[in-house]
């Protein structure tokens, strides 16, 4: 027979099993970083009267110093100032492209899922057809047709990235519409549109919002890739991709700071967006709504 002995639970385990940390503490670091980034990219170009395109070959390739915190590039331009402008462009691309792709994807997924039948099959084959082409390749073709510009980059990213949202929304709608609460709404006289707008879309909103926020850094990376390939913004315009592309030449002569600064800013912004979207996802869960006090 097994000898059972009562032992008190160690204090360390009691602490571990305590209530979870307030989401405010999870949100704070990411939100602070995002707020600083947003304020910087919005306010600095308006307040600081400095030309990010100002070339001064006398101070070219200077490492970080008190005068130039992130150093200067091969044309003597201040890397920190260019980073601010670059993030401004990259975040614009990221946010606009993410929102457009989410709207297109949600519309396609919601229609396919709620109408179903042959309409669903046709739309999903369209999604499969677009997904079968590598999206970077498709993006390059779109930019090539439209000529490289900020608008072309946004359109190319939006048109190649709505598929994920469409699939997420469709599968969620298919799952939701089989639930008894949808039957209950129909019994209560709700039309197809009312069911879609009052029940299906609000219930898929958390997933769509999460996919959209995660899409922002992805779109920034995509813009970076297009610019790196010379298909994004014009070479003189500051974007994170252009800066990294320009900086690769300087790596050979030891100019590590030129790629480190924009790369680091991109990673930090990506992590901050991911952090905020994680807390947002939890916040939108109705089962947790009354447990959260912020």
């Amino acid at each position: 027979m097994t000898d059972l002995t009562w032992r008190p639970v160690p204090r360390s385990r009691l602490t571990a099993a305590g209530p979870p940390r307030s989401p405010r503490w999870r949100l704070l670091p990411s939100a602070t970083v995002l707020a600083i980034v947003a304020l910087t990219v919005l306010v600095v170009p308006l307040v600081v009267d400095l030309n990010q395109q100002y070339v001064d070959l006398a101070i070219a390739n200077q490492p970080p110093s008190a005068a130039h915190l992130f150093g200067t590039d091969e044309l003597g331009r201040d890397v920190l100032l260019r980073c601010v402008y670059a993030l401004r462009v990259s975040l614009t691309v990221g946010i606009v492209a993410a929102v457009i792709s989410a709207v297109v994807g949600t519309a396609v997924g919601a229609l396919a899922g709620s109408i179903g039948g042959w309409f669903d099959r046709i739309l999903m084959r369209l999604v499969d057809a677009v997904a079968s082409v590598p999206h970077l390749l498709l993006g390059i073709v779109i930019v090539a047709i439209l000529r490289p510009s900020l608008t072309a980059v946004i359109i190319s990213i939006a048109l190649t990235h709505w598929l994920t949202s469409a699939r997420i929304v469709r599968s969620e709608v298919l799952s939701l519409r089989a639930r008894p609460f949808i039957d209950a709404a129909i019994v209560g006289g709700a039309s197809r549109t009312r069911v879609l707008t009052r029940h299906l879309l609000p219930n898929v909103a958390p997933q769509v919002l999460l996919a959209t926020t995660l899409m922002v850094p992805h779109a920034v990376w995509h813009e970076t890739a297009l610019s790196f390939l010379g298909l994004g913004l014009p070479p003189h315009a500051a974007s994170v991709g252009n800066m990294i592309n320009d900086a690769q030449r300087s790596l050979l002569i030891g100019g590590w700071w030129m790629s480190l600064a924009p790369g680091l800013l991109l990673i930090i912004t990506t992590l901050a967006v991911s952090g905020v979207s994680g807390v947002w996802r939890d916040r939108l869960n109705p089962k947790r709504r009354t447990e959260l006090t912020w």
């Binding site: 039957d183 209950a184 709404a185 006289g189 109705p286 089962k287």
Partner: protein, 209 residues
């Protein structure tokens, strides 16, 4: 009179074959049968949620031609589902659950909440913050919101204790006495049906395939 005549219905294969059932106004018909015998499928057909392979549904002399969204006789039938937790939108408070078919008539919401004995405090809670019994009461209020001529209760007491069951049946009986509504009560509980229903119909065990 709610009538299903020669109903053959199912999903890929028929679950019920050539079943006929009539619910008269003011009458309570019990529907019993083993699991898989097609009680819920028949309830869904009579609730105009599921189109049968064959047969017809008639409501007060009008033959139903369209099911689910297109049904013009939709609001004459109320339904109470088996699992209250799955039959309400998890984002809604109980107040919104009841108000949903009423499109915002708050006076009627208060009237219905009083009828099913839900307090103001409970009305402002979300489904995960109340018990199954309290949630099923909100579902009953929602089912009665549009004053249906017929009420289909699909194993509504499965998740409830005896006192909640008695309370709900009491409310339905009072509604029936007031409006002369017909009730189809589906249950596994023979004792409940004996006490509640005027007549009980039994579906036989499912066919082996």
């Amino acid at each position: 009179m709610l009538t299903g005549t020669g109903i053959t219905a199912g999903y890929r294969n028929p679950v019920i074959t050539d079943v006929s059932l009539t619910v008269h106004p003011g009458q309570t018909i019990g529907l019993a049968g083993p699991s898989g015998s097609g009680k819920s499928t028949l309830a869904r057909v009579l609730a105009l949620l599921h189109k049968p392979f064959a047969g017809s549904v008639t409501i007060d002399g009008e033959t139903v031609t369209r099911f689910r969204f297109g049904a013009t006789q939709r609001t004459r039938i109320g339904v109470l589902f088996q699992q209250p937790r799955l039959s309400v939108d998890p984002r809604f408070t109980l107040r919104r659950v009841i108000a949903e078919p009423l499109k915002g008539n708050q006076e009627r919401v208060t009237e219905l909440a009083d009828l099913v004995m839900l307090t103001d405090d409970l009305l402002d809670r979300r489904p995960h913050e109340v018990s199954d019994g309290q949630l099923q009461r909100a579902c009953l209020a929602r089912a009665l919101a549009l004053r249906p001529r017929y009420l289909i209760c699909d194993e509504m007491t499965t998740m409830l204790d005896a006192s909640s069951t008695a309370a709900l049946v009491g409310v339905i009986r009072a509604y029936q006495a007031e409006t002369d509504a017909g009730v189809l009560a589906i249950s596994h509980d023979d004792r409940l049906l004996t006490r509640w229903a005027d007549e009980t119909v039994r579906l036989s065990a499912p066919l082996r395939r």
